[in-house]
Subunit: 187 residues, 4 copies
């Protein structure tokens, strides 16, 4: 598990840091907003992955393969982010908004696969897990897929509305993380 | 050994995450398939490296140099992946398929060198290694070289057939990893 | 906390190492100076983050979100660094110097937010913290914001003077770090 | 010290893996040789840094700043490597060979600074250090600077001879590391 976390932390850190390679032109405010939103989105995902792994006592190969699928999505985020920053307001805005949204939706699906595989019947959970924390994680994962899917489908009507929704979802996650100020185990 | 693993995890994570830099154009489906196949291929290699290192009790300089050679191959994978995604169906498809195949074949050779150097006479293995796990790793390493070499040579007849074989080999590895659902030590 | 540090170390290491991607042309001395100054600036920030975390006993979600904001700034540094190396002495020098300065000023603000949130009433500090070390960190964080803000505002008068001030601030931090030769806990 | 090693491992792993970004054209054999030589050179440097850190019991700020200088050089290696692969045999070959050589010479100087600062009077060494290992590291560091400096100066006469010498020095280090097959502490 230690190495799974080192590898995962590496992918999260690299995906987040690579985002800066796509900030290209000064006065191109869209690329700053895209950078900040995507960095914080990947960062909050890292926080959630951290919290998820804190409940896990053991891993098996299926869990690790599902986790690779999740990391494959997260490492992909810089690509649709660049598209969205480049194309919003130009030709291709719809495709870019769809690409961003589908990437985040599939990422949310993989987060659920990883978590429900581990939590089903307590398969991989620690024996001393707090059931309220487990239920809290389950509850917090449920709205992710429909929220991102809705924002994605809105792109067919308006790429701008879709982009604003992505921003709102990111802001909600950051705000919720900041509110929930409970102490995290010092591991 | 801790630092060998941190360094190796870093190379695996960076090589996998750099793949996204080569996903360039929307609607270019080949680059998505290439990204997914290569990310999962590097990910499964990371899983195998993880399993290999779990059997190792001590390392020497020769082992570390062989391991550097292995990491040199893995860090190289993004280059032939980009070639294959760009050139399949165009001029240069054969060279791209050969470059991808030779890279993966040489990677498989280095995996075998690292493992058989460590396992020969139990040189670097833990005293409490499960002999069935050791035999299982040995058995699972044998088909890698001929499989990738065959797929590489097929490129002389048809780059497309070769690319499909790479995809099949990756799928087999992912499927096999998912089936073999035994619990991994919690280290 | 271990994973927060792995993630943070990854972002620091990647941001520092990505700087080399922007060193492009031989005989372009400005890009060498920019590389060295920015690498050492990110390196000293890493040292300070290291020293900060050594005082922390536990973390909460708010601390982690503030820390993500700090890392978002640090991962952004390669962008204004490239601008400054490219544009100093050309059109756009003022904007580049402003971008560099505002990035470093906001980074200093986030450093203060992270530290004062953790240290306020000893909220997240270790019980056995040396009060002189805590007071020393507090004291060393105070001049960062006004120093970088002053150097930034100087860019309105002269981008060159501003760039020289950034260099002087970096040199002061390196010199101060080298002077303060006390042993660091071996953790 | 744990975080110093995580940060250092990150810089080594990223610098080595970034080298692949500069492998650009198929059939451009110089870029393959440059990739392999530079990856193994950075890898052997990582091995030496690993061995150096294994003798260290405690660190101070001066040691950490010197270590940042060393990492600054190592993270710079991909730049002159790209120059050398691109320009050897073309105009600019001499400048490229000089840039590569000076980078490696300065890296060797920083390695010596870090080691002799730590080892002088046993300042930062473990109490139970094997004096033969300490003397062996000291001895192995002495030839690095004159070897790289000589190969660099040869570039004034012939860039090709200089490049061959860089290759020979790398081969010697790899060969020497492989011969010296003593078991490394399992840390």
């Amino acid at each position: 598990m230690a190495r799974l976390e080192t590898f995962a932390d590496g992918v999260f850190a690299i995906a987040a840091t690579l985002l800066v390679l796509d900030v290209r032109v000064l006065d191109h405010w869209a690329s700053y907003v895209a950078y900040a939103v995507s960095f914080m989105t990947i960062g909050i995902m890292w926080l959630n992955h951290h919290q998820l792994m804190a409940q896990i006592a053991r891993v098996d190969r299926r869990f690790m393969v599902a986790n690779l699928g999740l990391l494959m999505c997260i490492a992909f985020v810089p690509f649709p982010t660049r598209l969205l920053a480049e194309d919003l307001g130009h030709e291709g805005a719809r495709d870019a908004a769809l690409a961003y949204g589908f990437t985040l939706t599939i990422t949310a699906i993989f987060f659920s696969i990883v978590w429900f595989y581990a939590a089903h019947g307590g398969r991989l959970l620690r024996d001393d897990c707090d059931p309220r924390v487990v239920a809290g994680i389950t509850r917090s994962y449920l709205p992710g897929i429909p929220m991102y899917l809705t924002a994605t489908l809105v792109a067919f009507a308006s790429p701008w509305a879709s982009a604003v929704l992505y921003l709102v979802i990111a802001a909600v996650y950051i705000f919720e993380s900041s509110l929930f100020g409970g102490a995290v185990a010092a591991d």
